[in-house]
């Protein structure tokens, strides 16, 4: 068994995806239409395998990353991109979270500054009713 595995490795029959392979990296940017949370580079679905085959073929033909991504968005729409474009609605996807965080921080700081001053300590009186009212007002 070990000898067979070694032989297969020597013959190059067992290969792992090269993480620096440009076609593999492009596949990482495309959403599998079947396993929708996965890129086609990782999805085991038949459609993903066909799509990766198309990516490799187009890359081998000298097509650029942009041309390959456009090929798939023409058929599936921008939905197929795992990284939204930085134009149109995609612009909001990229800018809204950091802008929202900055606005939230600004609002939090503003409301913190407006917090009412601490009430001065008033010693208790002999009247328990008055103490209760004072405590109610100060809380």
């Amino acid at each position: 068994m070990t000898a067979m595995l070694l032989a297969a490795l020597c013959l190059g029959q067992v290969t792992a995806e090269d993480p620096n392979d440009p076609a593999f990296l492009i596949g990482k940017e495309l959403r599998c239409p079947v396993c929708q949370g996965m890129p086609i580079s990782d999805s085991p679905s038949g459609m993903a395998i066909d799509m990766m085959g198309q990516v490799r073929k187009m890359h081998a033909e000298g097509k650029s990353r942009e041309e390959i991504l456009n090929y798939f968005t023409r058929s599936y729409g921008d939905w197929v991109l795992l990284r939204p474009r930085t134009e149109g609605v995609g612009w909001f996807v990229w800018t809204l979270p950091p802008v929202g965080m900055l606005v939230a921080i600004a609002l939090a700081l503003r409301y913190r500054k407006r917090a009412p001053p601490a009430t001065p300590h008033v010693p208790p009186t002999s009247d328990p009713y008055l103490d209760a009212v004072r405590k109610e007002v100060q809380s």
Partner: protein, 174 residues
């Protein structure tokens, strides 16, 4: 209540709620087709008998493309509807089945018992399926005489969908 304090968070949250609420009632896995009202991709494929089919040469008559497989039970469920539709509308409309993630031999064996009056095309490497934005089967495309996609059906076809769409495409009755 300090309405001014509530206004800014409301202005931020309200658009988000509206955007999310628009998704209620929709199938989260359904892919809207970007090809509807656009030119369908032209292609050249061969049928099971080796005949070459060029969709560009078929312009002038509406076209129904049905992506299907023998391992797909919903595909088999709509098969009889397509057989019937092809017999009724076949003079006015081209019908083609496109083999998806399956082999020609499987399709031949299946069709031996359930013949259809229209050709089935072999799509090696799924290129035509990809160019039509197919995510699974069955999916059907109704294309007008000028090559424009007028309707994409994701999932099983119904008799009503077929008849209404073909009536609109042909402007008549079968």
């Amino acid at each position: 209540m300090n309405w001014k304090r509530a206004l800014i968070p409301a202005l931020i949250i309200a658009p988000l709620v509206i955007i999310l609420a628009r998704s209620f009632g929709t199938d989260p896995r359904a892919l809207p087709s970007v090809l509807v009202q656009q030119q369908a991709p032209d292609f050249v494929l061969t049928d099971l008998d080796g005949n070459r089919i060029d969709t560009q040469a078929l312009r002038g008559k509406p076209l129904v493309l049905n992506f299907w497989s023998t391992w797909c039970e919903p595909c088999k469920a709509e098969h009889s509807l397509l057989q019937d539709a092809a017999q009724r509308w076949g003079d006015q409309v081209h019908f083609f089945g496109v083999v998806y993630q399956d082999t020609a031999d499987n399709i031949r064996r299946y069709l031996e018992a359930r013949p259809t009056p229209y050709p089935h095309l072999v799509d090696p490497e799924g290129r035509v399926a990809i160019e039509h934005g197919v995510a699974g089967v069955p999916e059907s495309f109704f294309i007008d005489a000028q090559g424009r996609v007028v309707h994409k059906q994701t999932g099983v076809l119904t008799r009503d969908v077929i008849n209404e769409t073909l009536r609109a495409l042909t402007g008549g009755t079968p």
